[in-house]
């Protein structure tokens, strides 16, 4: 009989706010060490916390997206522990009245949907960042007081794939709702995985793997930790209730420390922050501010003929997706639009390090150019030629085409002459075609485009060429 894995996940996300949670210093690290710091962040005696409204609203947004019940009257709690990364000696967090409880999120593995229940989502402050070097540790308080939300699941997952799908789902939700950057590699999203194995319905002793640095490592760490626990149990030994980390280089989990009991933290309500009331009005405002999320976008794109692969590519780039969404109420060809955005336009944006919203590709210009491509009145070569002007000038598509001296031959009489010349010069291809080889059409098209220096209306050429060949 196989061991069954039971997995629960705790995720910390840094919230995208201007200032810290309990002080008005800037929420930004990665800049000069200890430059975004004030007396509150340093835990100076006599300082008091002031609660950032945006933190409450952003955390509320996360709780609503995760279908949680909201604690409308909530308070904060002190978690006491003595450590240099926390100079005031306690972390202000939420233990008794987390902002959201009893939520859930739907995940999908190999087409099978599964509900992962959310135990709670609570608000707390980050600690300072410490860098260890030989016999010293160096502290940077820029991170101290950065707002975090912690999302705790029930132990509802049973495979590494489900765990990875959950983390990915949460990341996508939070990115689209503008809650967090969710950069796992840079630490703005941190995953702790709890895992135990058992052959019976009774759960085994769990181990916690802390701070896993990527979604794929979440899967690897679970596989390796389950293997380790299985070996222990098979040898008649016991799993120790402890904290581990995943060592990517050696692909194994390494014990960090035996866990302290929860009551050693001596939680008690934070007396410096009175009760916080979440009003129905605030809930409504926050609900209304939630944009279309990734899952819904994917459905809209696929409904308009975009492949799953391309829909996912667009969703990976929120700005491009936001741009494409401007056209959801128009009847442009979304397949062409998505190909342009993922192809030449993305290449241009990457090269020029611009956001599409900072270019001159206004809504009506984009509609015009997509429609022209759709009708075949310009081809992709012309699009490439006018791309920079589309992005950088205020001129209309027609003006750009005229200014660039690009001639688009849409006169059938003119084209017929070119086609006839090309067919005369390629008699062998023509007989190949008559012999049933349809592939020569592509070659002949190429010759005609070459003859017209790419200025022929491709759809018209195709039509006229077939007529001529079938005569």
């Amino acid at each position: 009989m196989e061991y069954k894995k039971t997995i629960g996940i705790e995720i910390h996300c840094e919230l995208k706010t201007n200032t810290k949670i309990y002080s008005d210093s800037i929420n930004g690290y990665g800049t000069t060490a200890n430059s975004n710091v004030n007396v509150v962040d340093l835990g100076y005696p006599g300082t008091l916390p002031t609660l950032n409204e945006n933190v409450i609203r952003t955390a509320l947004k996360a709780a609503l997206i995760l279908n949680c019940d909201i604690n409308k009257i909530m308070h904060f709690d002190r978690k006491n522990y003595f450590y240099p990364d926390l100079p005031k000696g306690y972390q202000i967090t939420q233990a008794e009245t987390p902002i959201g409880v009893n939520g859930y999120v739907m995940i999908e593995v190999d087409g099978t949907p599964k509900k992962v229940r959310i135990h709670d989502i609570h608000i707390e402050e980050d600690t300072c960042k410490s860098i260890h070097y030989k016999h010293h540790s160096f502290l940077d308080f820029n991170r101290a007081g950065v707002p975090l939300i912690e999302i705790v699941t029930e132990a509802d997952m049973n495979t590494p794939e489900e765990a990875m799908a959950y983390v990915e789902k949460l990341r996508e939700l939070f990115l689209y709702a503008d809650i967090s950057d969710c950069k796992i590699e840079e630490g703005s999203m941190r995953c702790d995985v709890n895992i135990s194995i058992s052959k019976t319905d009774e759960l085994g002793t769990r181990a916690e793997i802390k701070n896993i640095g990527s979604i794929s490592n979440v899967g690897r760490a679970i596989v390796k930790e389950a293997e380790r626990q299985e070996e222990l149990l098979e040898n008649g030994e016991e799993v120790c209730f402890a904290t581990y980390r995943y060592d990517e280089k050696n692909d194994k989990t390494i014990m960090m420390r035996v866990k302290e009991a929860g009551n050693d933290y001596r939680y008690f309500p934070e007396p410096d922050i009175p009760f916080v009331e979440i009003t129905d009005e605030m809930i409504k405002e926050v609900k209304d501010s939630i944009p279309m999320l990734a899952g819904e976008r994917r459905k809209e794109y696929e409904k308009r003929g975009i492949t799953t692969l391309n829909a996912n590519k667009i969703i990976q780039n929120r700005i491009i997706s936001n741009y494409l969404n401007l056209f959801l109420d128009t009847d442009i060809n979304f397949v062409i639009a998505s190909n342009l955005l993922l192809g030449d336009i993305s290449a241009y944006l990457n090269k020029s390090e611009k956001s599409i919203f900072d270019t001159n590709l206004y809504k009506d210009k984009f509609i015009d150019v997509v429609n022209k491509l759709d009708k075949g009145s310009i081809n992709s070569k012309v699009f490439k030629d006018i791309l920079v002007d589309l992005m950088e000038t205020d001129d209309s598509v027609d003006e750009i085409i005229a200014n660039k001296g690009i001639k688009i031959i849409s006169d059938p009489n003119e084209l017929i002459n070119v086609i006839k010349t090309v067919l005369d010069n390629n008699a062998s291809s023509v007989s190949d075609y008559k012999g049933g080889n349809e592939r020569v059409i592509k070659y002949l098209m190429g010759q005609i485009m070459k003859e017209t220096k790419g200025s022929a209306n491709p759809e018209l050429v195709n039509k006229l060429l077939l007529e001529e060949l079938n005569k």
Partner: protein, 98 residues
């Protein structure tokens, strides 16, 4: 009720505070901490007039702060107040685990 804490209880508290105690100190604190705890315990004798939870002396709900940056400290000023520094960093003896 015992009139002093056990040796283990004192050592446990010392470990949470990350301090080292001599044998003499352990003995001394077994009694001192007990006195302290008894003093705090007196709060349990207060007769409550309400069932309502009270977490703060403030009777109003929390006022929330606007998310706009205020003044911050100059790193140089911060370093004047720390025992050891290294460049812009606060330096402390190496922290074990984590």
């Amino acid at each position: 009720m015992a009139d002093c804490l056990t040796r283990e209880e004192v050592l446990h508290v010392a470990r949470l505070a990350r301090i080292e105690l001599t044998e003499e100190e352990i003995e001394k604190y077994r009694y001192q901490l007990k006195t302290l705890m008894d003093d705090v315990d007196k709060i349990k004798d207060v007769e409550l007039k309400t069932e309502e939870r009270l977490i703060s002396p403030a009777t109003e709900n929390a006022t929330l702060r606007e998310d706009t940056p205020g003044e911050m400290l100059d790193p140089e000023e911060i370093m004047k107040n720390v025992p050891e520094s290294n460049g812009n960093f606060v330096e402390v003896p190496v922290m074990i685990d984590e």
